[in-house]
Symmetry: C2
Amino acid sequence: MNSEGLDKLFSPRSIAVIGASQHKGKIGHDILNNIKEFGFKGEVYPINPKDKELMGYKCYPSVLDVKGEIDLAVFAVPSSLVLGIMEECGKKGIKAVIVITAGFKETGPEGKKLEMDLVDIAKKYGIRVLGPNCLGFMNTASNVNASFAAISPLPGDIAFFSQSGALCAAILDWAIKEKIGFSKFVSLGNKSDVSETALLRYLADDPDTKVILGYIEDVKDGKEFMKIAREVTAKKPVIICKSGGTKAGAKAASSHTGSLAGSEVAFDAAFAQTGIIRAASIEDLFDYAVAFSFQKLPQGPNLAIITNAGGPGIIAADAVERSKFAKVAAISKETIDTFKVSLPKGSALNNPVDVMGDADDQRYKIAVNGLLKDPNVNGLIVILTPQSNSKIKETADVLVETRDGKPIFASFIGGKLVDKGRDILQDNKIPNYRFPERAISSFNAMVKYKNSIDLPKEGAKDFPVDKAKVKKILEEAARSGQKEIPEYTARDIIESYGFRLPKSILAKNAEEAKVAAEKAGYPVVMKIASPDILHKSDVGGVKVGLKDAKEIEAAFEEIMKKSKAAVPNANILGVLVQEMVSGGKEVILGMSKDPQFGPMLMFGLGGIYVEVLKDVSFRIAPIIPREADEMINSIKSIALLKGARGEKPADIDSIKEGLLRLSQLVTDFPVIKELDINPLKVFPAEGKGGAVAIDARISIELEKQ
Amino acid sequence: MNSEGLDKLFSPRSIAVIGASQHKGKIGHDILNNIKEFGFKGEVYPINPKDKELMGYKCYPSVLDVKGEIDLAVFAVPSSLVLGIMEECGKKGIKAVIVITAGFKETGPEGKKLEMDLVDIAKKYGIRVLGPNCLGFMNTASNVNASFAAISPLPGDIAFFSQSGALCAAILDWAIKEKIGFSKFVSLGNKSDVSETALLRYLADDPDTKVILGYIEDVKDGKEFMKIAREVTAKKPVIICKSGGTKAGAKAASSHTGSLAGSEVAFDAAFAQTGIIRAASIEDLFDYAVAFSFQKLPQGPNLAIITNAGGPGIIAADAVERSKFAKVAAISKETIDTFKVSLPKGSALNNPVDVMGDADDQRYKIAVNGLLKDPNVNGLIVILTPQSNSKIKETADVLVETRDGKPIFASFIGGKLVDKGRDILQDNKIPNYRFPERAISSFNAMVKYKNSIDLPKEGAKDFPVDKAKVKKILEEAARSGQKEIPEYTARDIIESYGFRLPKSILAKNAEEAKVAAEKAGYPVVMKIASPDILHKSDVGGVKVGLKDAKEIEAAFEEIMKKSKAAVPNANILGVLVQEMVSGGKEVILGMSKDPQFGPMLMFGLGGIYVEVLKDVSFRIAPIIPREADEMINSIKSIALLKGARGEKPADIDSIKEGLLRLSQLVTDFPVIKELDINPLKVFPAEGKGGAVAIDARISIELEKQ
């Protein structure tokens, strides 16, 4: 997962092309040709036993025959030859290879074995591997095109990596047309070694890269990915399009790269927690990329709209209102006053500012200048429709000349008429969008990112807990092969991590039960206590609402009798006498394991809200206090906790603390597979507050112990 | 609202251009020039007192000086001259005019007055008016370009109308580049006479138009719009982008065309009920338009995906799964068996069908042919990324040659490399989309439309009701100036329309109350009955849970005493003795007035579901039975009525009947402004079922009586 040695991979001083060929159309030809044509300045060694010379480079039968040092070897040979040549590369001291060759993990069990062997050799010699089953990469800053792509990218400050090689080809073609340039362009292939995470870490410190983009179908190590992503997003925006989310998509994913697609909620949570911006489509990915690449971040959410057309102005305002983070700027009185003088009668001076259909470039200039100076405005979208009086090129020039650091988005809507303006904008790094909605979703993404990097740094809470006790309980459970922890043990576990539980006292006889009931306070609940009786109610082992000593006595006898009758050989410890908790709102705190990201916490209101309305929120553990707040506040039924319909607001802080304690518990003990605290009863904030865990269910993974 | 005389407007035999000018850049010049250049075959009369001749046409000082008949006059004169010239046009017998001129309703009260005067003159002479404040229109089939647009459209079978003139200019420019052609292209302007509704009606029978597109910010007459739209969508697809929905958007809308934006839920309901496809953006509008224009409708929802690239295949499958109507086709065993023989090893034979990166055109042909023949497949998306072995042009040809009526969507992803394929596709009317998601949302729109036209025709239910009684009650209420109808009268109203109410008997004394209680069945509720006491509980006028004759007697005395004490001069009719209804699920049926569409029905579950979760659905009245079903089934909490968590399913048919009866009531009596039946208690379906309206609130519009 680390990025050590990736410098050799991406900025080699010398490259060997293994399987280089003189035949056009062969991958070994195309790679060598790309290296040459892209102007690589270092040594190039074609490796091929049949040729003496290729494209003017001396050809060698094997890397072992090359005298000079080789930084990078590119494999374009059949998969059957890869392992042998890897050994040679190791012996030669090569520290970075690209395995273009397909026929590995993506083909089934045999290929998977081959890939594991490949990784073993790489580890033995300390070689970094890009691929197998990839297109290669380009590094425009070092003039390296170590790929068989038919098109080379323009230079730029966007780094792009993709788990789909074919998508790389399509995007290269498309980006040329859209004049989008790249610093690095990397096809990840099967990610046998170099993964999205290693690349993120490397690109974080790459001086040529301003924005990191990725297309992925899974991540290799969810925990590590999150750790690194948190660090990287603090330095640069990371925008990722993740597919394979839906059932059909996941099916396609497993037949494609043999990857196990993580559940969508886990990815959404992971992206939200790490500050990664998730793009819903490839189109969004590049819409956002251009915005981030071309401009500084906005200092706030307030967007001003300038338009020469009412309709598109409305469309833009609608889009801002619908967006999650952007806001329609309230233009200051001062600016409006200057507009009253400088803009013609009939102009709309409030946001959207309508400079009217006959606006020339000078009228746009007045509006742009005024709004850029307005402290209430953090960014600008300038809409132009081609009208008879429009000065399209000149208006583009106005934007180029007047910009002052606040982001400006253009939406020159049309075709050939506006193309000349578009060219000026593109060449001068003002992002232009075919329709205003795209500009606004890009501004929205920038505001979102700005908000995320401005958040104060927080660590996970570390509550004083009885970790040793839980360790002992779980070890014992594992030893005895208990997948499901019995209720009274589950109670012990969560109590050890600071959850408040109903008062509960074990009584061995009716006399003890009476004393216990006095302590717990009437009315009480009584339950049979036995590791051999799981379904206590079914056997008549539970009595509720017991009000006095007489009832206790009768209940004790009855519970004992019925339990013994139902499970004759049960090891009966006695009867639990418990406080009856009344009142409070019922919520659920839970955890389940995601195959890619590990323990994932869940929060929701009890009953129908979880079961029918599925109104729940997720975060990957461990969580920080802010993330607990986000979990609580992102459910739709939150108003019910905050005191809707005249009810008393619940003690939300105690839910927050519960989530943080739960996070600590499941992080301390990865052996816990599933956990539900259901219900947690939360009391009104204005009284004593607090929350009581009424019931807890815990299961563990036996094989992991 | 009707479309009478629109033939003269859109297919005139002769056109007068009032305010025609020799000066380039003047609107009067550009219109005349467009008419000439677009090849209009009829007579052209420039009207302008200063010139003798313009662009080879004889010029006249006034329309009255023209000898021949004039079908259409285009106004390009200052707004101050419009009324006078309208009179002349009327006298000349002109039956259609376009008022390009701005300065009417959109400018404020004075302009509004001017526009009303314009409409009065038009009505006097029977003239149809397009505009004012518009760009004009083009009719490619009759070679009419009666607009001042700088660009003329290509011919095609898409009709487009827009409430924003500037948007027209931008779209014309854009459509040329995208090779999208139009039958009619109409700028509606202020819609003083010719509205979206009149146009819809006209375009429904226009043989040159296959698909109708519109951009609107409001509708002129919601009821009429819905009536016509229902008829038109049965004949042709109607796709509309409606903006001005959000707060900021609506603000911009009112400063733009002075229009009052209807609420978004009302538009959503109206579009859903009439079968109009709502496009979320201008981009979607044209994505859909091309799909509908180029292809036949799919016969089912099942889409097959062919791709030469895994990643985009997954992206496509994800998009299909996320879509509302499209489904990932289950390819038949027979097809897969033929693929096993005809496609190379390594191809994915299930949907998405991956023909692999080295696929040439012949491999695509095998896949396309196989899937088109498969009865499980209703449509195809063919994804191509440019790989070294790709035959882009030839693959495009394959699609053109093999298609057989099932819709085929292409997504050739890339830039210059794939452009040649794109050209072939466009020229041969196979819609091509930059990214697969756009193709899939277009297919989804086609399936949605196909579903809507396949629905059996239904009329509104006509229950036998006591309309005369309600009429009398409402007239009396209006006469006495009661905005809020008293509860016992509201009960009468809904009972007259067939709602079941708790048994309720008026008792004048304690003895009568006892008899009433026997009839209603103990326990009962007693309430003071007086038109002068609205807040009965507050004055001590309500007693609940009365169990026997003794309690009845005491309650009667107490209620009378307290009520008389609280409102000494109240006209007391007696005490209502009511059945206490227990059990049942609480739902709400409601109605409020939308300014554009009139009575809008609401349905939701009672309590927090409406108040906190806002889980409600809307439809414009009158509704048909299917729409009542849609209302009920579209709330998220529907599972609670259908028997989630082991509860008994509620009698949903009785809710449906309630909605239909409510629809009949509010349609019969437009004077009703707001109505809530809250709660309606619905009983389990498996017992006697049924529903009882516990409480009803009705308010009326006094001014409308």
